[in-house]
């Protein structure tokens, strides 16, 4: 049989009705201030982990909004919880709590998947 593995038929278009919002709803439930993020980049600018690797806090927020769960689980581990972003955010969003909630929710989803 011919091998079609090189083909990726999924489209890059965000299908708003079907994106995985389990993380987003969980975060908004406990940290409503995240809803006011205007993606200004102050947090990424000041991020200490951002100096050492290609970690981007603002993108975490963008991915959270569009349900990029795999990307989030890869990247979220890079945060060092130093709290500088929370000190800079002009919207007073508790970003450190958002990161904790994402980590929590991802590990919850993992355990849910493992459960029969």
């Amino acid at each position: 049989m011919n091998d079609f593995s090189y083909l990726k038929p999924a489209s890059r278009q965000i299908d708003f009705d079907k994106f995985d919002d389990r993380l987003l709803l969980y975060v908004l439930k406990y940290e409503l201030s995240f809803a006011t993020c205007i993606s200004c980049g102050g947090c990424t600018a000041t991020c200490s982990a951002g100096n050492l690797t290609n970690f981007n806090v603002r993108k975490i927020g963008l991915w959270l909004r569009r349900g990029e769960t795999e990307k989030l689980s890869e990247e979220i581990g890079k945060c060092m919880f130093c709290g500088k972003c929370t000190l800079i955010c002009p919207r007073d969003i508790n970003i450190r709590n958002v990161i904790l909630l994402i980590k929590k929710r991802i590990s919850m989803l993992k355990t849910e998947k493992e459960m029969p």
């Binding site: 406990y30 709290g83 500088k84 007073d92 450190r96 590990s107």
Partner: protein, 608 residues
């Protein structure tokens, strides 16, 4: 035989209680690590055993620590605990005298007045007087406890614990025991005249309506209340009575809380009596947060329904640990729960590379927060210039975080990766001294880093040393200065004096009511991951309004986080110790600073 039956409810309760205790105590002790068990055995043989006994007496019975804080409350606890203990003890001696033999059935003392209707044994008058007096002593405690439950302000307490059903049942049954005993003994006194001043007065108050059956009913009720209390005890706050004794022995054996839950955590959790003393000084209450204080956390750990929202909503300022009469390490216990809750997602930080270290005598690690207060960095640079030492500013460009905020979020394993990376660089520089200007970093470098012979120095200590060796000449501008003790520096690392002695050199240091161990928390703590910004503002304003009463010219602090938090309040001028020092040095050799520039500019060439 029916008379004997009054013992049955009491016996059932007692047996149930002892089974539970034996089961729990053995489980806990067997659960300790081998080393800790050895330590425990050793301590029983050594002088520490007597020390523990003395502490059990002083704390368990007299509640000496509560007395120091709040005498009325102390008396109430003492009367209940010590009174009841004496009641049992002397009751047994009385029975021994009455039966003039050492071996007597232990339950007899409880129902002595019921069984022993005559008074014809040695010193019976003295005993009955003593027993009545002790009963009165205990009853006074019970009345005060009832009063406290409804009028807590009278006892100088702002808040008491909100009790759940389990505790409430146990509480009421405890309150019933002694009045019922009084009633029972007065009934016997009325019938057989074996009471003393208290019970007989109550006895003849009952008058002739007393009868044998009524007597029997009252004694049965008394026995029921005892039995019921013993059954309710194991899963209520009164579990604390016996667990605290075990806790005292284990603590005196030098056993420490581990970074994971083990039975020592259970011992500490069960020895919490939910007295609510940790509530008053917890600042979160002023911000309207009333369910995350230590007493509620310990309860939730016990009932296994602890939520992240409570666990991570605590400033880790350590005030409740100072207030806890039982000596529970509330902060470490909470951190251990945070470790357990975040165990699965410790990051690997595999992206950390080994940036080569720069050889220097002194390494300065500013820390993440200090990068957001450049005033501190530029002052420290000037101080290093003055000290003339060869300093390597390690994290000027980029460096991983010291790891402490990560630990406060419970991720110790992940933090160890940062610590490893930083340690390699620090040792690589083979400097003699590591200077930090942030107490959050100071604690982790001091306690969790192994830096061999490298001395970890907080910038206040370093500046004090420079002043003593008069490398820096400081002019006292006798401005009114208030020093805010950062939680991580004060309560956690017990450094209170160095910053003060530095500040005394530069201005008039005004003592404030809330300082040192009872200092305010600025509200900006990294320990709290759940608090909202509005709530932090309420905490900060509370502290600032208190400081403003003293009309300070400058509020000095030694932590970039405190400085950043206070600086958002417009009516108070906040400066770090290093900034005050650099300001006070430049005054004499420089013309009057122009009004509009609030920070002084230092001409570099002057010091090269």
């Amino acid at each position: 035989m029916i008379e004997k039956s009054i013992i049955i409810p009491f016996l059932i309760g007692l047996i149930y209680l002892s089974i539970i205790f034996i089961y729990r105590f053995t489980k806990w002790i067997r659960g300790l690590s081998k080393l800790d068990k050895l330590r425990l055995m050793q301590s029983l043989k050594s002088r520490r055993f007597m020390l523990s006994l003395k502490e059990i007496f002083m704390e368990g019975l007299l509640h000496h620590k509560i007395f120091l804080k709040n005498p009325i409350l102390g008396y109430m606890h003492m009367s209940l605990a010590f009174g009841w203990f004496l009641l049992i003890l002397i009751g047994h001696i009385e029975v021994m005298c009455a039966k003039n033999s050492i071996f007597v059935p232990f339950h007899l003392a409880i129902f002595f007045r019921y069984f022993e209707t005559t008074k014809n044994f040695a010193f019976s008058g003295v005993f009955s007087f003593l027993m009545d007096f002790l009963l009165l002593f205990v009853l006074s405690g019970v009345c005060m406890a009832m009063l406290k439950r409804f009028k807590k302000q009278m006892f100088g307490m702002k808040r008491t614990t909100r009790l759940k059903t389990g505790d409430r049942i146990a509480l009421i049954s405890l309150w019933l025991i002694f009045p019922l005993r009084l009633a029972a003994e007065s009934m016997s006194a009325n019938l057989h005249g074996n009471g003393s001043f208290l019970t007989s007065t109550f006895g003849n108050f009952i008058g002739n309506s007393g009868s044998e059956t009524a007597n029997f009913i009252f004694w049965m009720l008394y026995s029921f209340s005892l039995g019921f209390f013993f059954i309710a005890l194991p899963n209520s706050r009164y579990m604390h009575i016996f667990t605290e004794m075990l806790f005292i022995f284990v603590r005196n054996a030098g056993i420490k809380l581990k970074k994971h839950n083990n039975t020592f955590t259970d011992i500490q959790v069960y020895s919490c009596s939910r007295c609510g003393l940790c509530l008053d000084n917890c600042q979160l209450a002023t911000a309207g947060i009333n369910n995350t204080q230590s007493v509620y956390i310990l309860k939730n750990i016990r009932n296994k329904n602890l939520t992240d929202e409570q666990l991570f909503n605590c400033l880790l300022c350590g005030k409740c640990e100072v207030d806890c009469p039982v000596g529970i390490n509330t902060i470490d216990l909470r951190i251990t729960q945070r470790i357990e809750s975040t165990l699965q997602y410790n990051s690997s930080y595999s992206y950390l590379e080994d940036i080569p270290a720069q050889k220097a005598d002194v390494v300065y690690f500013a820390g993440c927060m200090t990068h957001l207060t450049p005033g501190i960095i530029s002052s420290m640079k000037k101080i290093f210039q003055m000290s003339g030492e060869n300093v390597w500013f390690m994290d000027e460009e980029k460096a991983p975080c010291c790891g402490r905020p990560l630990m406060q979020a419970g991720q110790y394993e992940a933090a160890s990766k940062l610590i490893f990376n930083n340690t390699k660089k620090l040792l690589g520089s083979n400097a003699k001294k590591l200077i930090v200007s942030c107490p959050i970093c100071y604690k982790v470098f001091k306690e969790d880093y192994e830096l061999g012979k490298m001395e970890i120095v907080f910038h206040a200590e370093y500046i004090l040393q420079l002043i003593k060796d008069n490398v820096i000449k400081v002019n006292n501008s006798n401005e009114r200065i208030i020093y805010h003790d950062p939680c991580e520096l004060g309560r956690t690392m017990n450094m209170y004096d160095e910053p003060r002695s530095v500040l005394q050199e530069t201005g008039k240091l005004i003592p404030v009511k809330n300082e040192k161990q009872t200092a305010w928390c600025c509200g900006g703590s990294l320990g709290n991951l759940k608090i909202s910004q509005e709530e932090r503002t309420i905490l900060r304003n509370q502290a600032v309004e208190d400081y403003l009463q003293y009309k300070p010219d400058i509020l000095a602090t030694a932590c970039p986080m405190c400085k950043k938090t206070f600086a958002r309040h417009r009516e108070i001028k906040v400066l770090d110790i290093s900034e005050i020092i650099t300001n006070s040095i430049s005054k004499p050799t420089e013309e009057k600073i122009t009004k509009q520039k609030t920070k002084n500019k230092i001409h570099e060439n002057e010091f090269v």
